[in-house]
């Protein structure tokens, strides 16, 4: 086995997350898809850090984690406030700006 396997796993996870964002209509599920994509990117960074013998990749993954945590907090707050005003967590129902 080589480190390429980790990269392939990361690609598969990233694609699953991307398809989930595109297909699922529930805002929470789509958001979890975004989280999975961020994690797949992190796996790539950690793998390349090991491949090149350089810790910069791990530091970058650490910063991605911090930004993802902040993003989750804001995203979930937006979902909750939309649910309070519109009574729905579906992405299709957020269409006030249509027409």
């Amino acid at each position: 086995m080589s480190l390429i396997n980790y990269l392939v796993l990361s690609g598969i996870l990233f694609s699953i997350g991307a398809v989930a964002v595109l297909v699922r209509r529930n805002a929470l599920v789509a958001f979890m898809g975004v989280e999975l994509m961020l994690n797949a990117a992190n796996l790539t960074l950690v793998t390349f850090a090991r491949m090149h013998g350089d810790l910069h990749g791990q530091v970058l993954a650490f910063f991605v984690m911090v930004v993802a945590a902040a993003e989750v907090v804001i995203g979930l707050a937006i979902i909750v406030s939309i649910f309070r005003t519109r009574g729905s967590a579906s992405l299709d129902d957020v269409n006030l700006l249509k027409n």
Binding site: M1, S2, L3, I4, N5, Y6, V8, L9, I12, L13, F14, S15, I16, A18, V19, A20, L22, V23, R24, R25, L28, V29, M32, G33, L36, N39, N42, L43, A49, R50, M51, H52, G53, D54, L55, H56, Q58, V59, A61, F62, F63, M65, V66, V67, A69, A70, E71, V72, V73, I74, L76, A77, I79, V80, S81, F83, R84, S88, A89, S90
Partner: protein
Amino acid sequence: MTEQLVISTGETVLFWVLAPLAVLGALSLLFARRVVHIAVSIAGVMVALAILYIALEAPFLGIAQIVVYTGAVMMLFLFVIMLVGVDSVESLAETLTGQRWIAVVGGVGLVALMIAVVTRAAFAEPVGLATVNVDSNPVGVAHLIFGDYIFPFELTAALLITAALGALVLSHRRRLGRKLGQKETVEAKLAAFASGAGATSVVSAPGPGVYARTNSADMPAIDAQGKTLDASITTVLRVRGQVHGQADATAQTTRAARIASGAPVIEADREEQLGTSAPAEVSSPEQASPAVDGPEATPPDERPGEPSKTGEGDEQ
């Protein structure tokens, strides 16, 4: 770098155990129906990734992954799922025609493209982190974060504080109107009573019905005229449509009256079982005592036998 990275058999086994588990958990994102199931399996994927990080000589990131993602992010997701409604049904209607299939084809293409690129690219020989991690991995990462990356690290502090404030502001609900205390509530009730709103505006609402066979909260009480009282049932049951109707309440009181009068009574379920075999005059108490039936039959509760019984009870 002189040394070459040798991947141990243990790591290979670990990868081939964890990678299918991670992919399976991630696939729940596409196929699972309940949002809670998805959140829990994604938390499992995060744990699998954390173990893989540790295998990839990044123990600091592995622990941070468990603490941040499994511990904080996914639990926050679960909280919001509970807040938004666990059993919110997802609409499966396509708003854009063919969007689902385009997305699936795009996803499969993305997988194929990434695998092709990754497997065909010419990477340098893997070096491994043994030399860099001499002082343990957290120390190495800390040297970089608090050295080269000290300014971005300070910026993340501002980012996190802004995010926390933003979440507070977004989830804050402004109070519409004055806060109503105990005093204001009492005054409003008395004012409503003075303008003729009925006694239930000041006294408590009647409790649910208590009958011979049931005192459950979904049976309405009956007033002096034999009508059911809506106010005796909690609003939740009324909204759900789980209130037993007037017929049920009347049946209960009628049955009590029949028992008091000494007429033969057979349980409702037994009655159905006996329906074919039992003789008609026994299995149909409605025919046996037609005068007792009907909503107006509630006052005859006080049959001649009844007061004497209660009288005996009082003496004891």
